[in-house]
């Protein structure tokens, strides 16, 4: 297997193509699948390659389309539903939460719903409040759903394949800000286990748990922090539900500090969940309050001037880490206390 670098969008497309080629039960349904712009290059020409019987560009009917995927899954297929703006998926929440999530439990395991629901986060670009929301915490709240958020090309492919093989309803959330990210992706199909976080950078001083695109910003933040003598460990959560407590606890027990970086609102969000779990399971390791980075409590504005201020970047992670660590070394090289190391 040759090591090769492809983009996140190409990795998604490759996963689709391999899933469709290998399993006749797999089909795709959703809005915009025959369109050149809805899902960027992540599914380009997939309809011409696999035919419009299996790649179904749907009516403007999110609830029925998602319900149809659920019904097809119950009847033995392996459908993937695409909602090219996560915001549009809200019209299908009834089917996702009331039906898909509950079905296996309320029928005592006698039927199951092997459906993948792929909403795309489309932040920025002056798209505004209804084309930009990152609502993974909502879905992660619900027992019966799994929620994954790949941040690398490797995971974009491996988690999609794992989601289709999982046997449960899986919400697979990709972010268009990641589509151009390059990374090594094996050509053969492979799965990334759902429910396992990945340590992207080893560090001693602080644990930064990040989701989706914020992993990119967290890695930039870690480089900036290195310059001021703070050694950050970056954990890519990958799976919001189930949540990999063990990897987070092990890291916090080593570093004693935690910042959670999530590109969604803070209230009742992933940061709150991770913070609560650490406070409950690794409290004695904490040497500082827990920090959180996320969106300000406002819908997304369209104006670029406001948008730039709205989305958290590496700088905010750096600021939050420095607040918790007592600052690290200042730029002029004067050492600042940062705990027992």
């Amino acid at each position: 297997m040759t090591a090769r670098s492809i983009s996140y969008a190409q990795a998604i497309r490759e996963a689709f193509a391999q899933l469709l080629a290998q399993d006749s039960r797999v089909f795709v349904i959703g809005q915009g699948l025959w369109s050149p712009w809805y899902v960027g290059t992540s599914m380009q020409d997939i309809d011409t390659e696999f035919g419009r019987e299996r790649i179904i560009d749907s009516p403007v009917s999110e609830n029925a389309t998602t319900g149809a995927a659920i019904g097809a899954a119950l009847a033995g297929m392996r459908p993937i539903v695409v909602h090219p703006r996560m915001d549009f998926m809200l019209l299908a929440v009834d089917q996702i939460v009331n039906e898909a999530a509950n079905w296996h439990y309320m029928f005592n395991g006698r039927v199951n719903v092997p459906v993948v629901i792929r909403p795309v986060i489309n932040r920025g670009g002056e798209q505004g409040a209804q084309h930009s929301q990152a609502l993974h915490a909502w879905f992660a709240h619900v027992p019966g759903l799994k929620v994954v958020m790949p941040a690398t090309p490797y995971d974009a492919k491996g988690l999609l394949i794992a989601a289709v093989h999982d046997g449960n309803p899986v919400v697979y959330i990709d972010d268009r800000w990641l589509y151009g990210e390059m990374g090594e992706v094996p050509e053969d199909p492979y799965s990334v286990p759902i429910g396992q976080a990945a340590v992207r950078r080893r560090g001693r001083d602080v644990t930064v748990v990040a989701t989706s695109y914020m992993v990119v910003e967290a890695m930039k933040a870690a480089s900036a922090l290195e310059e001021v003598g703070i050694d950050a460990e970056v954990i890519d959560l990958r799976s919001v539900r189930p949540l990999d407590e063990a990897t987070i606890f092990a890291s916090v027990k080593k570093t004693g500090r935690l910042v959670v970086a999530d590109a969604a609102w803070l209230s009742c969000g992933v940061g709150a969940e991770v913070a609560a779990r650490v406070a409950g399971g690794a409290f004695e390791a904490l040497r500082a309050p827990i920090g959180r980075v996320g969106l300000p409590d406002a819908p997304a504005p369209t104006s670029r001037a406001l948008e730039d201020a709205y989305y958290p970047r590496a700088g905010q992670i750096v600021t939050e880490v420095r607040r918790l660590t007592g600052g690290g070394k200042s730029r002029d090289g004067v050492a600042v206390a940062r705990g027992r190391h």
């Binding site: 089909f27 019987e53 299996r54 179904i56 749907s58 009516p59 009917s61 609830n63 029925a64 389309t65 998602t66 319900g67 149809a68 995927a69 659920i70 019904g71 097809a72 899954a73 119950l74 009847a75 033995g76 297929m77 459908p79 009834d94 089917q95 009331n98 039906e99 509950n102 079905w103 296996h104 439990y105 309320m106 029928f107 005592n108 395991g109 006698r110 039927v111 199951n112 092997p114 027992p143 019966g144 799994k146 093989h165 999982d166 046997g167 449960n168």
Partner: protein, 331 residues
């Protein structure tokens, strides 16, 4: 045309199905009054001809989905009676292991892939099962059973459009019993015209006497034939009446005294009595009919005993089956 003796066999089978539904529901009504059954239970009494007629037109491997009032659909498609009764008692031997209750019935071995109470919620799911059949070419037909209230939900229209556009093998079987919870149809709609949705969405629509099992069977047979041959979906609006209240055993508990006149009128159109009269005209004897009732009574009695004597689910199993496990996937 069926030969006379074949016709009598068919009619007798329909009669057994309907008497069974009636016997089960009336027994459950007593058990609800006695508070032996605690889960919210929506009884099917009065509507038996719809489930019996539609399911008689189906193959064993065809799929059905239902809503909160689906004991009849489950039984007509061949679901196990003991497992139904045990489910109402919240027992481990119930069809959903006691996790579902009356509103969540399942019998995948006979094509009942699930019933769920949020009205119209299972309509798109039924369309999806039909989509699976269309993609696989397996020749199966799926029926979505739902009430007149569900026709007010947006997803009903979304689902009809999707099914008609792709010519999916699905039948929309609307049981119009005039009431959604406590409200009459004309308190909720500008017009009594559910069937008109069919034309709007590009499929045949038919209004049937839902208390005439032969009319239902005939229309369903045609709809099933069309669906199976690739001609696409049909909407069947079956006009019927529920004898009991929206939920529970009371006769007019939630819609007031004014329903009593209606109820008397509709009891005069009792689908079970009508079929019995038809059978008598075809040469069946009163004794034959009484025999059917006696057999059903004995069977229902045994089912109640089975349910009472079954064990409840273990408390330790509380959080099992939230997710399908890797070992289940391999199996």
């Amino acid at each position: 045309m069926l030969r006379t003796e074949d016709r009598v066999v068919l009619l007798r089978a329909l009669y057994v199905t309907m008497v069974r539904m009636r016997g089960v529901e009336e027994t459950i009504a007593d058990l609800l009054e006695a508070k032996e059954i605690g889960c919210p239970t929506h009884l099917y009494t009065g509507q038996e001809a719809v489930a019996a007629g539609v399911c008689a037109a189906l193959r064993a491997d065809d799929y059905v989905f239902g809503g909160h009032r689906s004991h009849g659909h489950y039984l007509a498609k061949g679901g196990d009676l003991n497992a139904l009764m045990a489910e109402l008692y919240g027992k481990k031997t119930g069809c959903s292991g006691g996790r579902g209750g009356s509103m969540h019935l399942v019998a995948p071995e006979v094509g009942v892939l699930g019933t769920a109470p949020l009205v119209a919620g299972t309509i798109p799911i039924a369309v999806g099962a039909a989509l699976a059949s269309a993609l696989r070419g397996d020749g199966r037909v799926t029926v979505a059973f739902f009430g007149d209230g569900a026709a007010e939900e947006g997803v009903f229209h979304e689902s009809m459009n999707l099914a008609a556009h792709r010519k999916l093998p699905v039948i929309f079987a609307c049981e119009n019993n005039s009431y959604a919870s406590h409200m009459h149809l004309l308190e909720r709609r500008a017009r009594d015209n559910i069937v008109a949705s069919a034309e709007a969405h590009g499929m045949p629509g038919r209004v049937l006497d839902g208390n005439d099992v032969l009319a239902v069977l005939s229309a369903a047979t045609e709809a099933v034939r069309d669906a199976r041959s690739g001609a696409g979906p049909t909407l069947l609006e079956c006009r019927t009446y529920r004898w009991r209240g929206h939920v529970g055993p009371a006769l007019d508990f939630d819609v007031g005294v004014r329903r009593k006149d209606e109820l008397c009128e509709w009891r005069g159109k009792d689908p079970v009595t009508r079929l019995a009269e038809h059978l008598l005209a075809c040469g069946m004897t009163r004794e034959d009919l009484d025999g059917v009732r006696r057999d059903v009574d004995a069977e229902v009695h045994k089912a109640v005993t089975f349910a009472r004597e079954s064990a409840p689910p273990e408390v330790e199993s509380l959080t099992e089956h939230v997710y399908r496990s890797a070992s289940e996937r391999q199996g």
